[in-house]
Amino acid sequence: MPCHNYDPNFSRRDFLRSAGCGFGALAFSALTGEGLAHAARFGTGTAKIPHYRARAKNIIWLFMEGGPSHLDLFDPKPLLNKLAGQKLPDSFETPVTAMGEASSPLLESRRQWAQHGEGGLWISDWLPNHSKIADELCVIRSCVSDGINHAGGVCQMNTGSVFGGRPSLGSWVDYGLGSMNDDLPGFVVIKDTESMVVNGPRSWGSGFMPSTHQGVLLESGPQPIANLHAPTGYSVERQSQKINFINQLNYEHQKGRDSNTDLDARIRSYEMAYRMQAEAPEAVDISNETEETKRLYGMDRKETEVYGRNCMLARRLVERGVRFIQLYHGAGSKWDSHDEIEKNHSKLCEAVDQPIVGLISDLKRRGLLEDTLVVWGGEFGRTPMSEKGDGRDHNPTGFTMWMAGGGVQGGTTVGTTDELGLYAVEDPIHVHDLHATIFALLGLDHKKVVYMHKGRPERVDANEGKVSQSIMGT
């Protein structure tokens, strides 16, 4: 590919690239200005005008990596406890599971269940604080994915496909809506452990799109972004003189080459890299947050401190115009509970319960919740069948996620699984539908945000999703 050069006009291909095909495309393309030089920014630069009235401007995705058990959190199944110890009845289709546990005895749920809030949502005693936000949650009990393993599951939840190569949802959002802050990335990822998320950085990669749309891993501490600071021994003055000199050489080179906008983009990107050294640490510096706020997020307790801090960072990033924030919990498949689910989930649920409640409450009291869609879930749920006596296998055929804020109707439940929570039976919502629906909540038409790739008009939903009217509440 040649440089972008100076071209402010659209070629037919650029038009298709940014606009896709179909009649609605015209509107999107005309409004976005995609194709103008935008390379020096993190995201696509200018914020774009969505297709519809957007209910949400930002997303915070609470990704419980490894697969939390819907059967023990949001989807009570009395029959499961009745049939515990027996095999899956013949009336159920035999699923293919990761560890081949289709014929293992059913495992009871030891949870105490109660209905909460005006909507009467069922939430188990593993998430005691969630009762306070029950009326904010739209619990989707009928989620469906294709990935029976972590790699495929996490990949599909992020990109729509079980194997690599496609852009992640955050990249699509950045592509479709652009950035609201030139000095910070539009798509930020934070994880709670030192372990890597399954599949590595491509979980937030931009796939076939330019890497301008990729997610950026944010870490706590003085160097939140990789290579943000010069190595030890490089003072601020030294660094600034050097960057000035690089750009002096670049200006010299640019003479007579003004039409090549890539050259200019790089000059600006050096300037921005320098500016970011100040911006990014400020965004993650929580020293000015009050003790009350820190407590709200559970930062006063060791059990909840880490995720509490991450949830607070998410709010700070939303305030600074970051579009898409993904907070991994249990990075490295920690929610995976093939055995000892009681021990595993007790600990993990405690670690997220107060931080999530804190996040929702804080967003709400600051008036941010109505513009911010919060999504909770893993890459799949867990089976009613047991594994190793006291664990559960992966279940992508029916599991729970929830949404809050961003214009979704709280205190509601969407879809159902069968009586044992194995398959989604009513109003099944595939990952593609979930992505299409999130787009709709952001005011984007999933059929119109198109990226041309190798002759195919690619969409966020792999051309297969539909907007869930039950979630939209229309």
Binding site: R41, N149, G164, S211, T212, Q241, G455
Partner: protein, 998 residues
Amino acid sequence: MSTPVTTKASRDLIRGKKAANWLVRVGLLSVVLFGVPAGFANTEADPFTKEDYNWWAIQPVKDVGVPAVDNASWVKTPIDHFVIQKLREAELQPASPADSYELVRRVYFDLHGLPPSLDQVDAFVEAASVNFESAYTSLLEELLASPRYGERWAQHWLDVARYAETDGYRADQYRAGAYLYRDYVIQSFNEDKPYDQFIREQLAGDEMDADDPDVVIGTAFLRHGVYEYNQRDARFQWELILNEMTNVTGETFLGLGFGCAQCHDHKFDPILQKDYYALQSFLTTSYWPDGKKLTTPKQEEDYTATLATWTETAKPVLDEIEAIKRPHADAMGGFVIKQFPPDIQEMYKKPFEERTSFEKQMAEMIEKQVIERIGRLDYSAQLKSKEPEKLARYEELLRLLAELEKEKPEDLPKAFITTDISKEAVASLLGGRLGSEEVSPAFLTILGDPKPVIKPTATTTGRRTALADWIANPKNPLSTRVMANRLWHYHFGTGLVPTPNDFGTLGEDPSHPELLDWLTNQFIDNGWKMKPIHRLIMTSATYLQTAQKEPDLRSQTVDPENRLLWRFSPTRLSAEQARDAMLVASGEMTQRMGGLSQDADTSVRSIYIKKLRNKPEKFLHSFDAPLGFDSAPDRLQTTTSLQSLMLVNSEWPLQRAAMFAKRIVGDSQAIVDDQIETAFKIAYNRPPTSAEVKLAKDFIDNQQAQLEDQFSVVSPISEFNDSALFSIDEGFSAVDQSFSLGDMALRLEPGSPHERLKLPEVELTGSSFSVEAVVILNGLHADASVNTLISQWSGDPSESGWSIGITSAQSKYDSRNFIVQLIGEDGVGNMDYQVVASGLRVPLDTPVYLAAVVTANKQLNESGGGEVVFYMKNLSDSYSVLETVSVSHPIAARIFSPNTKMILGGRDSVGHLWNGQIARISISDDPLPRSSLFVETAISPEDRANWRFSGANAQTAIPDGASWLLPTRLEKAQDPFFGAVTDFCHALITSNAFLYLH
């Protein structure tokens, strides 16, 4: 296309005449008049429209004449006739020729992917000034004959072939034999292998010549797709693999995105869903063998014979080991098998000869996982828990085997190839799992080519050969044009068809359709060879144009994208070009011819760097190298802030800059204009302008002055007139009084006179010891160096020693990992070096308590080994608890080396220094239980050194008998002059004139 003449005739009938086209729309009539075009049954209506039949890409390649033009002074080759004709029509003027500097840089990067050396630039510029034509021709010949050519052009093909060296799923396992395909591609380009042969080898090398490893390896092409090592839904996984194979074959060789047609007739191109499954049917019987070796039969025979001799000697040991292992392996195998769906298990349980081909494939999917899982079975651990009485014998046997294996013949390379599971074809089912309609091998319906003639071989269906023959047929309008276009694309940055993997209707039409056909014919007429086409293109006036021409109003209006080539399009260096050019500038590049892939911190060309799908090399990834998940026909050119941060702040470019600086100024303390000019010439491949030289001189002067100031400034922590001391309240105020710290903390700073402290003798005996400390770590090394807290080690992994520290940014163990390095004898008396990593992450700039209790004890476990118990507590946080981790290791004895100094803050060698403060440290000769650690009790056990720090200066504060060691080397970057030159060189290799061909 075994009868191309008939085919062409029938196609011409179908679409050639307007009347006939109209008739074709009336399905039945067409059948009556012209017979049924192959591919759809006579009961079906023709699924295609007139427009479909007129699709340019499926028209036969025309025998076009070279257009006559009157601008004889500009044109050099027939290519120019086509180009100037279009430019004239658009009222555009070509650019003037590139000067010799611009051209020599372009040509080297184009053919070799590397910049020219100083001498190569000078030689060409001089020769060209005498006789341009001959200088240029001989330059091209020289470059085309060099092995560097294959390394550059193979990269293009590897992109298209989605080449990578790992599985691409969670485990992302390394594919041991994959690199042999990379070498095969390099070799194929270097020997200018005809492309039709190259196609055949990659699709059906196993059917062409199963005995020739250089041919069979081509089939790795079908095997580069992703694979999930623990996917129990075997059907689903195999379907994904097949679809991937089908898509990549269609895109690579035919320039068609078949993907859409997997689920429905293509919405934009005349490709039917049936066509997708017809194409897939050529591949449905394939599989990825694991046990095969990539050798000739003779090599295999020799190997087998030598191995047999060895096996005879080793037999008693081998048999006994096998007898011990077998039950555990079988149990694990059974465990894996049971996780598959019951019907797949049934297939696996059937005797081999009773399985259908599909069942064999499914059984193979199980077998792969069984072998993989058993392969990482820890038999010692199994025995320990289930048959402890056998453990000692087993480990003794392993030792015997290790001895025997010294005589064992070296293993043959694993064959990372594809072949068929049997000669009985597996049906291709339309609709996949749910489908029932069987689709037999056929070519694109719209082309109307007759059904393939398929001849099975002894072991395969012969289907892939039929597919390869059709693709490699000179009359195939798609495969031939696609490759001719790729060659153009890589030379000019944009193809005549700008979408090289997509000749469909959503791709763009060719800018110069006649030129594309003319070039395609040249390609075929030259025996499908690439080098003649390189010559044709590169000697054209079109290629020789300068990129330094600004658009005028006319070109901006009618051809802003430069499709008509009114200048040479500027491009950025690709990932590999940029990385390789930095290594050339620094003088570090080492050339090689093929071989195992290397880690990114080596000096080999980028094509030889390990290509890990889930952990891509950071520099290459940042510059848009594809990840290898699907066929990549072109490279994006992104400019991001993250990329700029990587260029200015990451260690790799900085190191190249330092080496570049050393190359320019050596150890001298002054730089002259000539040296500045040389640096520019190395980086930009041209002499600098006077303005550039002036900028550089000013910069180096200013930067040197600035650095002199900076380095002379007394560190702000020197309130006590001693940078080695730090008031305890400065960093450790939050630490509980029970730790009874002194008034001061020692501050160890790399590059200062207080880098490392040699401790007074502490006699450690036996096989265990404990170290506890209260410290702050202020910064990590930017490379993989360890931040050593304390050690008694020379740094040589073959000499006894131990070292306790924290890992740095680039460490294999991840950063801030609390580790112990142990070097001693293992259970059988061999010297071994082990990194025992706790996984505990030490926070920076925070007071922490650290302890390591090390045992290395033969008695503990007869086979040798011991453990390290790590403790860590964040002392700034009163809520934090004492974290603890035990890690076992195989070192059993001799970790103490009495002659080696015990050093605080480093090793008895260069580097690996601590940067931070130490408030208390104690060492015990015993493996202290938790209850005796000072974090838990104020009562100190006996027999240990126990230091706190109080005093007026660096000498009085340290323990009696301790002494500061001289810095092992003056950090070069801390030398103001060298630092300034390094910064100058760093700017050169990160500036636009370096990164762009413009």
